[in-house]
């Protein structure tokens, strides 16, 4: 992604242009994620209207159980199918304008559901947005903003690395090279969430 935003071999005179593109990509990522969080929140509101008797304690328990199940999937203990669309954003989006193309890339990748979803924790985040949105849309949106920002952050860091004359794919390469470890990090995060939610529910 970083080489799409910041093509290699470009002179420093184009720095301003790629800085703008990186910012647009990151803002697009945040916008896409926030809009999707809004959609999840609205689904939550709809579910709350349909099931008014469903108390928050049961929602807590449901999220806790699912977090545990997803952790087992991340640890490859139970082989759950991964629901995902293996689509990739087309390069043709860059033809009319790189700025527009990067913004669209950000929006689509930020939404998260149109491309690969290799981590089950993403589904828990969506469910959390639904649960939070059922009570307050304002509570669902920040989750999308934070997710979108950190989804776009590696592109910003890669661009900064290029400016410094360093290799720009440090984080992405590290993540790919240590995919097993990163799945374990996700599993531990899910176990923490599960323990917290189930522990508080049982009392």
């Amino acid at each position: 992604m970083i080489f799409v935003i910041v093509p290699l071999g470009k002179g420093t005179k184009e720095v301003t242009a790629w800085v703008i593109r990186v910012i647009l990509y990151t803002l697009g990522s945040m916008l896409g994620a926030t809009l999707f969080a809004l959609l999840m929140g609205l689904i939550g509101q709809g579910l709350r209207a349909l099931l008014p008797g469903l108390g928050f304690a049961w929602v807590t328990a449901l999220l806790g159980v699912l977090a545990f199940v997803f952790a087992l999937k991340e640890l490859r203990i139970i082989p759950l199918p991964t629901l995902q669309i293996g689509w990739q954003v087309p390069a043709s989006w860059m033809k009319p304008s790189r700025a527009l193309g990067n913004t669209l890339y950000g929006i689509v990748l930020g939404a998260g559901v149109f491309t690969f979803i290799p981590f089950a924790s993403f589904y828990l985040l969506l469910l959390w947005e639904i649960s939070a949105g059922a009570v307050s849309l304002q509570a669902a949106l920040p989750l999308g903003v934070i997710y979108g920002f950190f989804r776009g952050l590696p592109a910003v860091m890669g661009g900064i690395s290029i400016l410094r004359g360093e290799y720009p794919l440090g984080i992405t390469d590290w993540l790919i090279a240590h995919l097993g470890l990163w799945h374990a990090v996700n599993a531990v995060a899910l176990l923490l969430v599960s323990g917290l939610l189930l522990g508080s529910f049982i009392l």
Binding site: S121, L143, S194, L196, G199, S200, L203
Partner: protein
């Protein structure tokens, strides 16, 4: 000699498995206790949209956001 190497590798694998199971169990138990403490001292079951549970959701959003970087 080969058997010795094979046995050693197997022992290492078993030791890793034990350490892994122990680590996961301790982590899950620790957070279970945090959840219990939260329920006792704060405000009942962790509401996913308020307080500590919401802060944890934000942490999850960070982990998921960085994780998805490896997919595209």
């Amino acid at each position: 000699m080969a058997e010795s190497y094979g046995g050693s590798a197997q022992d290492t694998q078993v030791a890793r498995l034990r350490a892994w199971v122990l680590g996961v169990s301790v982590t899950a138990l620790a957070m279970f206790l945090v959840g219990v403490a939260l329920a006792v001292f704060v405000d009942g079951p962790a509401r996913p949209w308020t307080g500590l549970a919401y802060v944890i959701a934000m942490g999850l959003a960070i982990v998921v956001g960085l994780s998805k970087t490896s997919s595209a």
